[in-house]
Symmetry: C2
Subunit: 260 residues, 2 copies
């Protein structure tokens, strides 16, 4: 099932996406909802951010090739985490599919994409085992963890390197059925595939991250956990189109535009 948050004629609602038709619903997507009887062609609606999470979790370093390639570039030894420690991103930075990533005028040219699988939680949960962990998941969407690498290195916090407005595209919808082991992530730059990896080939699994984090932190419906990225990104220039595709899920497409 695909849940889409959309606007049409000034009204925002959740709908079920069936083929290219959006079937409007009302109610709470996590508990009880019903069809309103209205539907729209997908091409006629504005796709919104799937949701604003209560807590916005993000696994920073969770694919080994990403760490190795970054270390090679820096001429250092890869710093591979030995424990699953979750980090955070900020809600102000979220934008929807097809909205522009605005590169601030004082950013350097070191602006990179990171295509990521996003877990959407559907249940309140604390202290779950790895065996129970996947039952907390409502569905999956796609994220692009846009990063300004000069600020990321120079600053004490990630407030502008990763949390500048528009630096967190998320969408286009939430898919409740996904064969994780069959899923493949491909990032295209201006239509050309540049980064490609097995989506579930993580250092620490989704179930392990949920288990470990839940020993201390309660998850709530609508929380999200971004699962990290593999490989590296070239410098993204103004006008470039970045598409993050996860097979079985969809494509998250955003143009990068430098502020004049």
């Amino acid at each position: 099932m695909r849940w889409i948050n959309f606007s049409h004629a000034g009204h925002t609602a959740y709908g079920l996406l069936e083929g290219d038709t959006v079937i409007e619903t009302r109610g709470d997507i996590f508990t009880t909802w019903e069809r309103t009887g209205r539907s729209f062609p997908l091409a006629s609606v504005k796709i919104e951010v799937p949701l604003i999470p209560r807590t916005f979790y993000c696994a920073g370093l969770n694919y080994v090739d990403h760490l190795k390639e970054a270390a090679d570039k820096a001429g250092t030894v890869p710093n591979i985490p030995d424990r699953a420690e979750i980090g955070y991103r900020a809600q102000n930075a979220l934008i929807a599919h097809e909205e522009d990533v605005i590169i601030p005028r004082d950013a350097t040219e070191k602006v990179h994409y990171e295509g990521e699988l996003v877990v959407v939680f559907g249940k309140k949960a604390r202290r779950v085992s790895e065996a129970e962990a996947m039952d907390c998941i409502f569905g999956y969407t796609i994220g692009n963890d846009v990063s300004e690498r000069t600020w990321q290195k120079a600053d004490r916090t990630f407030y502008r390197s990763k949390n500048t407005d528009t630096f967190k595209p998320m969408g286009p919808w939430i898919e409740t059925e996904l064969d994780l082991n069959a899923a493949h992530t491909t990032v295209k730059l201006n239509g050309v595939p540049r980064t490609s990896f097995a989506t579930n080939h993580m250092l620490f699994s989704i179930a392990h991250f949920i288990h470990v984090t839940s020993q201390y932190c309660t998850f709530y419906p609508g929380d999200v956990m971004w699962m990290g990225t593999d490989g590296t990104s070239p410098d993204v220039k103004s006008g470039d189109l970045v598409e993050v595709e996860i097979s079985g899920l969809g494509v998250l497409r955003n143009r990068f535009v430098r502020e004049p």
Copy 2:
């Protein structure tokens, strides 16, 4: 004006606190609201967390004595920031006035309080000058940035050292009028004053933090920014009562209880 989020007979609402009377309201405290005609004695209601912020900002190192005392303890030179860089905390960790801070069973004895002034935003704002910054503020409340120092040092992220469930008491209410320069913060442990500082004696002012952060990040009504703490905390033991008082604002009181 004091806004209080409260529950009474299973119903949660915002009210105006006048003396010891809670005057119930309906509507949106940031835009339009009205009195419902009902009121309750303060002692008869359950005080709730003032709000769940959309983005939860926190200034980590913003009082010089706190940095100097921490460095003295560690036998190092104080690392005083030369720029205002905002950090983040997580929504799951918030609890209300009079609710218990639960120390996890695997935490060390190095559990500390940090009494902080909390800014509550009332307007959507981006790129504001220092002169305009204070106009974005709806009011102020009190926070206790509870920290497990062993985890804080050992872990790569703050997920459990600062964001364990119950580690972020906030309240008891939002005060819209506060004379910042007259305000004094006092933290009492079991009734005995232990930490005391001029609330507004910050390394980087509230206006400066809002100005700098807003160059990259949009603030929304209901966002909060915790402003950091001064001095140091002794190790807090199970059963200890911690009271953070800010003059002109109120007292945030929470008991610390170790999980059996």
